[in-house]
């Protein structure tokens, strides 16, 4: 097994909790109970750095210019 990335084990090791013997914990805060209308009344959820960093990566189009890679992305 290749070595884990720094800090990975602490963040992503499945840990028993809430009576669920096996679950995987995300680094995203759960907004399941937040209504759209309440979105701006609650504190900023935070801890979405990874999500935003991934989102900001440049993309290419399939139709509107640029090359779609090779037909299917994979």
């Amino acid at each position: 097994m290749p070595p884990l990335a720094k800090g990975e084990r602490a963040l992503y090791q499945p840990v028993p909790a809430d009576g669920i013997p096996d679950h995987l914990e995300s680094d995203l805060m759960d907004l399941a109970a937040v209504r759209v209308a309440d979105l701006r009344r609650l504190p900023a959820p935070g801890a979405a750095d990874r999500l935003l960093a991934e989102l900001r990566r440049a993309r290419s189009n399939a139709m509107g210019g640029g090359e779609p890679g090779s037909g299917r992305a994979e």
Binding site: D27, L31, G46, N61, A62, G71, R72
Partner: protein, 609 residues
């Protein structure tokens, strides 16, 4: 999954708990399939992502309302908020639509400077159209300024308002009033345009999004030829399908749905059609002449728009069904990646992907493996479904894809830096494919699939890899001096790797023709089992003055064929196929009449000169 109380000045980490995915649901997705509950969990994660992105965008617009230029920034959030309070469910559905997903992600990339597009105010200003659409669903009242492109105002997942007398492609604002499910566009100096987007039929002023039925009581799938954000990132113009094209899509989709309904929707390779949100028809344009693939096979998707896919119209229903399965796999993996980092983001394009012409990076390989586990499972199901496989190719495709997918999973398991969830994913996928590899198939079909897999890999290496310089020097010196071949070093990627090529031998293996015609070339002879004649045909092609060496060296297709024919005649030399680029490196020092001897020497089977 609920906020866990408030403190005096709560912060995000005080108020929210992390998303926790039950292991059994993760394993269902990780094995390549997914029950309705498992897919619903992914959708729940997507909802959280959309809320986070919407909050981010609203905060950015608050910080700089000037971004929206001529639009009225003050009306946007109150309109959306009022609609969401009045009718949470349809507004939730709107937020989860692929149109809003793609636009929201694109708008944030625009603001971050990693995407381009129309004037920023119009791009970011689509939020006003989202708010107006929410008000339409909720039946609330709103007065908003909307961005328009030429004569089109786009309402996400509903359709397009057409403005008369507006030609060209320029961006401008229109004033609109929403009330009781009706949208009225006020025109300066002209009469108002009134449309009912929720239930209005197509008219001079209204183009609704088309929908493809999936069966009684199940959600229809959008066939979106209108929305500006229906491509993978930057906005594009509407491209309304004509009646014939629309009928063709409906027919293909009906056929694909019937095929998918005959299978197990929850296992790897299965798909419940109603879980697809949208199909975007892809059409070749004049400017697509230089596409790196034939347009007929093109399909694509983005993690920004869960369950949506761009698809070129395929030739038949089974092909569409396979494509839907393939692209939905990407959506599931994209959603899983939003929840958990699975693999270190190493973007070095160096690895073999059997479904591509070029070298691929490891995250791409993971996407490919996940998609092709779905495709493999799809063809496995079709081996028992003759209605979807009239030409009897399912067994071959199942045999081929299970081999290729397993190879890639092995690469991921040994070469990629996987997180704990990532390793669990690769392990579950491998278990799925290992189970399939143990299933009996006609030995002749298995042999054909194996030959096809090897052929693709050998040609891929000759096209994309070169013997390392030191390795090549040492090998040439050994050949000249008459000593044994030197150990192999690491290959290097060719500078011009990545060009598209068609796997012609693979196509012949699929067809399974065992009787070559009178004018058969090397490929036909090889696939038919006449290795001697094939080797001669390939040698002739390689020596022909009409086919001089390319920048890739000797014609890689013919050279791969020559090696495949040689190793069919000398099975003990099969090790040559593992690193065919080493044989290619020797050709400059070996005249054609010495190739067989050179090949035998490199494989360790020839006597020293």
């Amino acid at each position: 999954m609920r906020p866990v109380g408030r403190s005096h000045e709560p912060t995000g980490s005080d108020v929210y708990a992390p998303i926790r995915m039950p292991g059994p649901l993760f394993d269902e997705i990780a094995a390549g399939g997914g029950s309705p509950e498992a897919v619903a969990f992914l959708v729940r994660g997507e909802r959280t992502r959309r809320l986070l992105l919407l909050r981010e965008l609203l905060d950015l617009l608050d910080a700089d309302p000037g971004i929206l230029g001529p639009l009225d920034a003050r009306t946007v959030w109150p309109t959306l908020e009022a609609a969401a309070a009045e009718a949470p469910e349809p507004v939730e559905e709107l937020l989860l639509s692929p149109q809003v997903g793609s636009w929201l992600a694109h708008a944030l990339r625009r603001l971050h400077g990693t995407a381009s597009g129309p004037p920023l105010w119009a791009d970011a200003g689509q939020i006003a159209a989202v708010a107006a659409t929410a008000a339409l669903h909720a039946g609330t009242h709103a007065e908003v300024l909307l961005p328009a492109r030429g004569g089109a105002v786009s309402l996400p997942a509903l359709g397009t308002v057409r403005l008369p007398g507006r030609n060209g492609d320029g961006f401008h604002t229109v004033r609109a009033v929403v009330s009781g499910g009706t949208l009225t566009v006020r025109q300066a100096g002209g009469s108002d345009i009134v449309v009912r987007p929720l239930d209005g039929a197509e008219s001079a002023h209204w183009l609704p999004v088309r929908r493809l039925g999936t069966g009684p009581g199940t959600r229809a799938v959008q066939l979106d030829d209108l929305d500006p954000y229906r491509d993978l990132d930057e906005p594009i113009a509407p491209g309304r399908l004509g009646p014939e094209e629309l009928r063709a899509w409906q027919g293909l989709f009906d056929e694909a749905v019937a095929i998918l309904r005959r299978g197990d929707g929850s296992g790897p390779g299965g798909l419940r059609p109603e879980e697809i949100s949208r199909i975007v028809p892809w059409r070749a344009k004049d400017g697509d002449v230089g596409l790196p693939v034939p347009p007929a096979g093109l399909s694509a998707s983005t993690g920004d728009a869960f369950a949506s896919m761009v698809v070129a119209r395929p030739p038949d229903g089974p092909a569409l069904a396979e494509t839907l399965v393939h692209e939905f796999q990407h959506s599931k993996l994209g959603a899983l990646l939003h929840l958990f980092p699975l693999i270190e983001d190493d973007r070095t394009e160096a690895h073999y992907a059997p479904w591509r012409a070029d070298p691929r990076h490891l995250p791409g390989l993971l996407h490919g493996a996940y998609a092709f586990v779905g495709v493999t499972g799809f063809w496995r199901e079709r081996t028992r479904d003759h209605g979807a496989d009239p030409e009897g190719r399912a067994a071959f495709l199942f045999a081929l894809r299970r081999l290729q997918t397993r190879m890639v999973l092995r690469t991921l398991a040994t070469r990629a830096r996987l997180t704990v969830p990532g390793r669990r994913l690769v392990t579950r996928l491998s278990e799925t494919v290992d189970g399939w590899l143990a299933e009996p198939l006609d030995p002749a079909v298995v042999a054909r699939a194996r030959a096809s897999a090897v052929s693709h890999r050998v040609e891929w290496r000759l096209r994309n890899l070169r013997c390392g310089d030191e390795d090549r020097k040492a090998l040439l010196e050994a050949l000249r001096s008459g000593s044994g071949p030197t150990p192999a070093g690491p290959p290097r990627i060719t500078p011009d790797a990545g060009g598209y090529w068609q796997d012609d031998r693979g196509r012949l293996h699929l067809l399974g023709k065992d009787r070559p015609g009178p004018a058969a070339g090397g490929d036909e002879l090889l696939v038919a089992g006449d290795a001697e004649a094939a080797r001669t045909a390939y040698a002739t092609r390689l020596a022909a003055p009409a086919a001089p060496p390319t920048s890739l060296g000797p014609d890689p297709h013919a050279l791969a064929g020559w090696l495949l024919a040689h190793t069919a005649l000398h099975p003990q030399d099969r090790r040559l196929l593992a690193r065919p680029e080493r044989f290619a490196a020797l050709l400059s020092a070996a005249p054609p009449d010495r190739w067989t001897w050179t090949a035998r020497w490199l494989a360790g089977g020839a006597p020293r000169a």
